[in-house]
């Protein structure tokens, strides 16, 4: 008699709770009356996330690799990533809750009568909440998945909602839709590579699981061409998601076109999920073949840091600049992939949290700077903001300083930890490259601060809106965290260090 596979629902519960909340959201969108929807959706989303987090906290020490047969591995790194993603989602949703950023009816033609009436009547569709939750569920699955099917499914589950969310912007809808299109086409393109890579690796090892792959490599039982091509193709999918050069081109365009709250959420959470999966694949599945991929990935890391840092310098749009900044950070994080040691894993966990919080905060600030036509992202119009709104400018500068890795901010500790892990693994050249590109990167962060504070505004149409209470909470939390993690990093670092393990 066939027995059904044993699933450990307690361990899978966080994901299931989020999925449940998402489904509930869909129902709400369909059946609850317009005026209640927004608040209800928000409540469902936040409650779902809190419950999921609580469940996650409860199971934090129950690591096992057979929670769902061999498809997922609930281990330290996985749980930590899931927690981080939940936190990002929570903060992200606080900012997303400000409807002013989203099209009332995404399906309505830009400028059409339909749209105008939706705008006037205040009929706001709130599908963004369930979409976010679906994406979150995919993100939570991605870093714990241990076979290629699960990985692919998770990748798609996290991506597909994001493609849609990128196109939801209320203003500059053409740009937003273009971002969605680009993100979708390129994302699908990269998933195809990922899938083909998975197929090749399956061909090499005869198994879809990472453990099977490792065993095959140890036994050197298959065709090396399949293995090598498989590694490359699989990497393309991952490198695309983390935004590594030369698979980064979508990043600036999508970051710029997508609604800013989405950009912030996406930048933080996707990066965490993608790095979680990348680390697991390379640490668990491909560790044994490191000799063949390490130089290539190291090269990608170096190029990514440099391109991110250099390209950011000539950007004239705040969101694009932050996009390139995120590319540079992907480069730093990739050094951890190459380092292949426990310190690097712990460092990455910390770094992702530090970077993610600052990113959400920074994009949160971007949502506040507006003129009559909506958000203002042209850097030249941010000039002199420090005079108009010292607090907002100071907090934004704080995030920038954290990105730049200035001591006493969380970014510095992350960078320090990553670089020391790289040094420990003997990849000193990566440290040097990292340090040099940091030096370049520092320039544009500081120049932006300089523009905020040391120059006089050229026009007065730009203003900083009074943020909603939720946005205020989100930004405050991220700002405070950025400082606390910089001054007393042990609070999180020790946790990250404890959770820095993969189960095979």
């Amino acid at each position: 008699m066939l027995t059904a596979p044993k699933l450990d629902y307690a361990l899978l519960a966080p994901i299931l709770i989020i999925l449940g909340a998402a489904l509930l959201g869909v129902l709400v969108e369909a059946f609850v009356k317009q005026s209640l929807r927004a608040r209800l959706q928000l409540a469902i989303a936040l409650t779902g996330i809190i419950i999921a987090f609580e469940q996650l906290y409860r199971i934090r020490n129950q690591g096992t690799s057979i929670a769902a047969v061999t498809s997922v591995s609930i281990d330290g790194a996985g749980i930590f990533m899931q927690g981080a993603i939940l936190i990002f989602a929570f903060l992200g949703i606080l900012i997303i809750a400000d409807h002013d950023h989203f099209a009332p009816q995404a399906s309505a033609l830009p400028g059409s009568a339909e749209e105008v009436s939706a705008l006037e009547s205040g009929k706001q569709q709130t599908e963004v909440f369930p979409l976010t939750l679906f994406a979150v569920s995919g993100m939570m699955l991605f870093p714990i998945a241990t076979d290629f099917i699960t990985l692919f499914v998770a990748l798609e589950v996290l991506s597909l909602p994001l493609y849609l969310m990128a196109g939801l912007s209320r203003r500059r809808r053409l740009l937003s839709q273009e971002a969605a299109l680009k993100y979708f086409l390129l994302g699908a393109y990269s998933s195809a590579f990922f899938l083909f890579g998975a197929a090749l690796l399956y061909g090499y090892s005869g198994s879809l699981s990472l453990n099977g792959l490792t065993d095959a490599i140890h036994g050197s039982g298959g065709n090396d061409v399949f293995l090598l091509l498989g590694i490359v193709f699989l990497s393309v999918g991952l490198l695309f998601k983390v935004g590594a050069v030369p698979f980064h081109n979508w990043t600036p365009d999508v970051y710029q076109g997508a609604p800013t709250p989405i950009t912030g959420f996406m930048a933080a959470a996707t990066k965490a999920a993608a790095f979680g999966a990348t680390l697991r694949i390379f640490y668990v599945g491909l560790d044994a073949a490191q000799i063949s991929w390490k130089p290539a990935i190291a090269a990608v890391a170096v190029i990514t840091m440099l391109v991110g840092a250099i390209a950011a310098i000539s950007q004239r749009d705040v969101k694009r600049m932050l996009a390139y900044s995120s590319i540079a950070h992907a480069g730093f994080l990739l050094t951890a992939v190459v380092s292949l040691n426990k310190s690097a894993l712990g460092a990455t966990l910390f770094y992702l949290v530090a970077y993610g919080l600052a990113t959400i905060g920074a994009f949160g600030i971007v949502t506040l700077v507006r003129d009559s036509a909506g958000e203002v992202t042209d850097i030249n119009r941010w000039v002199g903001l420090g005079k108009k709104s010292p607090l907002v400018a100071s907090v934004f500068s704080l995030f920038l300083l954290s990105f730049a890795g200035i001591p006493l901010t969380s970014g510095f500790v992350g960078k320090f930890a990553i670089f020391s892990a790289a040094y420990e693994s003997g990849n000193i050249y990566l440290v040097v490259a990292g340090v040099l590109s940091s030096a370049i990167a520092v320039f544009f962060y500081l120049r932006l601060i300089l523009m905020l504070f040391f120059a006089d505004a050229t026009n007065d149409s730009v203003s900083v809106v009074i943020p909603s209470i939720l946005t205020r909470i989100a930004i405050s939390i991220t700002a405070i965290a950025t400082i606390i993690l910089g001054v007393a990093p042990s609070l999180l670092f020790n946790v990250a260090q404890n959770f820095a393990y993969f189960l095979r």
Partner: protein, 501 residues
């Protein structure tokens, strides 16, 4: 809690207190800031009296775990060198407050921000010399750039934004190289039985020579940018030109000392072999700095950039003394750091008053000030005399010790360095002649002499220069044990006189 921690906390508390004071009441803010800085001065002097010169170990130590994962501690403690530099700092800060009483009022931001930044800076300046954990040192080393960045950019003049940027980029670049080296040291210590950032433990590591060379360079370039050594100096004149007098004083007087301090504290004690390898090259750079800085000072038209270039020359002397690695050279260099702090303070503050009164920093716009503002003129003159190391002023003692100490080992460098004193006479006297002597132009005729507050500010600086010139013994006694420790660690001893009695 160590008195060192108290010393660091006091300005910080001051900053917090000021933060809650009403923005409008500039006078109250200034008085509070001055009060706190004076309190710091007093506490530091109390600490100095508790310092035992007989002990060569670190004193007033305190260690608290900070980032346990990396065994990073909040660890402080001072030896003679650190004590001397901390005292210099705590004395200079209230003087800067007093001297630049109104310089915060033409800034981009409020008076309040100015004093908050300065007090935070003071905390860091004390901390950077007190830190005995390399990580802590590094963190402060980098973080203290920010207040200065905002002080230059927010309260400076002219191309202040660009100057602030240049300053910060240069420093951060050096800092990042140092970060790589700090990480390297940490990993090596991990491999040799327990990762640590403790200075004492790190100096006992066994590091192969190739690694030593690279790590040494990482530290050294950072310090060479900080204490600007040719050819890493071009940020300094720009910064000095744009910063307010008080900021320049602290920047050149204290912050840049972290560079030379670091060379002794880190480069030499961590990498004795690399130090030997690089010494000839560094001595060469030092000599180039001495002469180059002096020549450029002669060629400057702006009074602040002139002072900046004199400092480059002086940092050349300090570096020369350090790497000569003799008792006289090292002690001279450390004493030079202290003297240069006061001497530069005198120059910048008096020059600042002149500039403020005249509304221009071009030397050519002055003239005949001695007839109009004798006290100001005298102060500037004495500051200049200190810059050219006139015997009887403390800078002479240190400059002479440096040259004497390096002559025994590097005669050519010492001889070239000595010719620098002719150039020093030229750059000081040219500036003095152009600004103080000659006919008084109509534009300068009505300007007021120093007021009481300014007199009170400059008097202690000049007093220190004169007193230490005649009686340097207390400071030398404090510094000598450090020198001996460094030399013992580096495994060198003084050259023996060829014809001893």
């Amino acid at each position: 809690m160590s008195i060192l921690t108290t010393l660091q906390l006091l300005p910080l508390i001051g900053a917090i207190v000021i933060a809650v004071l009403p923005v409008g009441n500039a006078k109250l803010i200034k008085q509070t800031a001055l009060g706190f800085s004076l309190l710091v001065t007093i506490v530091s002097i109390v600490m100095a009296f508790g310092f035992k010169t007989s002990e060569s170990a670190l004193q007033f130590t305190e260690t608290r775990s900070w980032i346990s994962a990396f065994n990073i501690n909040y660890a402080v403690g001072i030896d003679g060198m650190a004590l001397a530099l901390i005292l210099m700092t705590t004395i200079l800060v209230p003087i800067v407050f007093l001297a630049g009483w109104n310089e915060s009022e033409n800034g981009r931001w409020s008076v309040k921000v100015f004093y908050i930044l300065l007090l935070i800076l003071e905390t860091m300046m004390i901390g950077v010399f007190a830190a005995t954990d390399v990580f802590l040192f590094y963190v402060i080393f980098e973080a203290m750039l920010l207040p200065v960045y905002f002080l230059i950019g927010g309260y400076g003049v002219g191309e202040r934004a660009a100057a602030a940027m240049k300053f910060l980029l240069y420093s951060l670049f050096g800092g990042l190289l140092m970060l790589a080296a700090v990480i390297g040291l940490y990993i090596i210590s991990t491999n040799q039985g327990g990762g640590t950032f403790d200075i004492a433990k790190l100096s006992e590591l066994r590091i192969d020579s190739a690694t030593q060379n690279w790590l040494f360079l990482g530290f050294f370039i950072a310090f060479a940018i900080k204490a600007p050594l040719w050819p890493f100096h071009t940020w300094l004149p720009t910064a000095a030109k744009s910063a307010t007098a008080g900021t320049s004083t602290l920047l050149l007087g204290v912050l840049d000392k972290v560079g030379t301090y670091g060379m002794i504290r880190f480069c030499m004690s961590f990498f004795p072999d690399a130090t030997k390898t690089f010494t000839p090259a560094i001595i060469t750079l030092a000599v180039i700095s001495i002469l180059y800085g002096a020549f450029l000072a002669i060629g400057q038209k702006d009074i602040n950039s002139l002072i900046a270039f004199t400092s480059i020359s002086h940092f050349g002397f300090i570096t020369l003394g350090i790497f000569a690695l003799t008792s006289q050279g090292l002690t001279g260099a450390i004493f030079y750091m202290v003297n240069h702090g006061f001497s530069t303070a005198a120059l910048f503050l008096t020059a600042g008053w002149m500039i403020k009164r005249r509304g221009s920093s071009q030397i050519a716009d002055f003239g005949g000030l001695q007839r109009v503002t004798p006290i100001l003129a005298w102060s500037f003159f004495l500051a200049g005399m200190s810059a050219l190391a006139l015997p009887g002023l403390s800078s002479f003692v240190s400059e002479f010790l440096v040259l004497l100490g390096s002559f025994a080992k590097y005669p050519v460098a010492a001889i070239l360095g000595t010719t620098g004193i002719i150039l020093a006479a030229l750059y000081v006297l040219l500036a003095v002649q152009r600004s103080l002597h000659g006919e008084t132009p109509a534009t300068s005729s009505g300007i007021p002499d120093l007021n009481l507050r300014e007199k009170i500010a400059i008097a202690p600086v000049i007093a220190v220069l004169v007193v230490l010139g005649f009686y340097p013994k207390p400071v030398l006694n404090v510094i000598n044990p450090t020198t001996q420790t460094v030399m013992t660690h580096a495994g060198v001893s003084d050259p023996v006189a060829k014809v001893a009695k």
